[in-house]
Symmetry: C2
Subunit: 226 residues, 2 copies
Amino acid sequence: MAEEEAVKLFGTWRSPFSRRVEIALKLKGVDFKYYEEDLTNKSHLLLKYNPVHKKIPVLVHNEKPIVESLVILEYIDETWKEGFPILPKDPCQRSHARFWARFLDEKCLPAIEEACLRSVDREKAVEEACELLKLLENELKDNKFFGGETIGLVDIVASVISCWLKAFQQVAGVELLTKEKLPKLCEWSDEFVSHAVIKGCLPPSDKLLASLRAHFETVASKELCT
Amino acid sequence: MAEEEAVKLFGTWRSPFSRRVEIALKLKGVDFKYYEEDLTNKSHLLLKYNPVHKKIPVLVHNEKPIVESLVILEYIDETWKEGFPILPKDPCQRSHARFWARFLDEKCLPAIEEACLRSVDREKAVEEACELLKLLENELKDNKFFGGETIGLVDIVASVISCWLKAFQQVAGVELLTKEKLPKLCEWSDEFVSHAVIKGCLPPSDKLLASLRAHFETVASKELCT
């Protein structure tokens, strides 16, 4: 079986979670076949490979499914060991990378969503999200990337802070990631999206913007109806 | 520096999260110094070692803090490689173990809390929690432990299903883990709590019961006052 057939990725073009997996596979130089899912009409393959959560992303390697983006990223690093390193070697540094990856998913993302979608007391939600992003920013120290001189796990997970957050705040009309508030994180974002591999893995910003605008209108109209 | 001084664990006796770390260290045969935290008056050391979340458990190894129980368990396995294996070697099996560990924390625990604490529509919450626990049970297949013949990551994380859930449902007056509903999970629980290392790491059931009863009374009186 050719590598491309042996490795399949089920995702959606606008999901930062499936894009993470795409980034990791491309950094590793692993060929794969991509399956775009319609989340309003999930394929039988997606339901077969992820019967518990029925969600993307799913990585299928030699017919074995791996689910949950953070779990998939660790799997990719452990399976294609010789390629580009996603996690550092040192156990202590590995645990720090895992900590910040979880911090992004469990703290920053819900806070960003609150800041962009909440209709009451939004100012406070924006402030809270900025405080969390500041903690993340401090973790950059004087490094180019969270991984140091090269991209690592935290950078891949933080990709959502780059083009997605920018589009999100533009549509919601809030200011989170600005040069005044988070200068280093802005610099990181510019550096990250310019990386040769990364720029090929990010969704086109105009298409993403249009898609998010439609999503926001749906949410807003639902709020008006309740 | 003696090993015991080099390895410190900050936890509370009744927390299943710090008990997880204790189990892993004891399975590995690592000596450590334990610091019992008073969560109503957190020590300066806890705040110093975990400034972001200010939570237990914290493992400190050679003065370097590692936080978040799942991150700590991976750290322990990677640092004391030669000891008892917590995660399997095969990348695919490792990803399955990570998946079920996250499933326990992110799906089962919130559902159990809902089932035990919710005052309205509790029956539905009990049913939903049981459905999730059934998915977990199926993962046991015909094995003694989630790790196969020996205890592994998922067993350590699932320790909360053993004595904690039993005490929780007794105090809340709900039935989740019963031989009728979840026979294999009950068998697993009996096997798990009888393990030589595990039984020394679990809180005394009468003390846990009394502590949970007091906690439930506080929650109930708060509900009455709001």
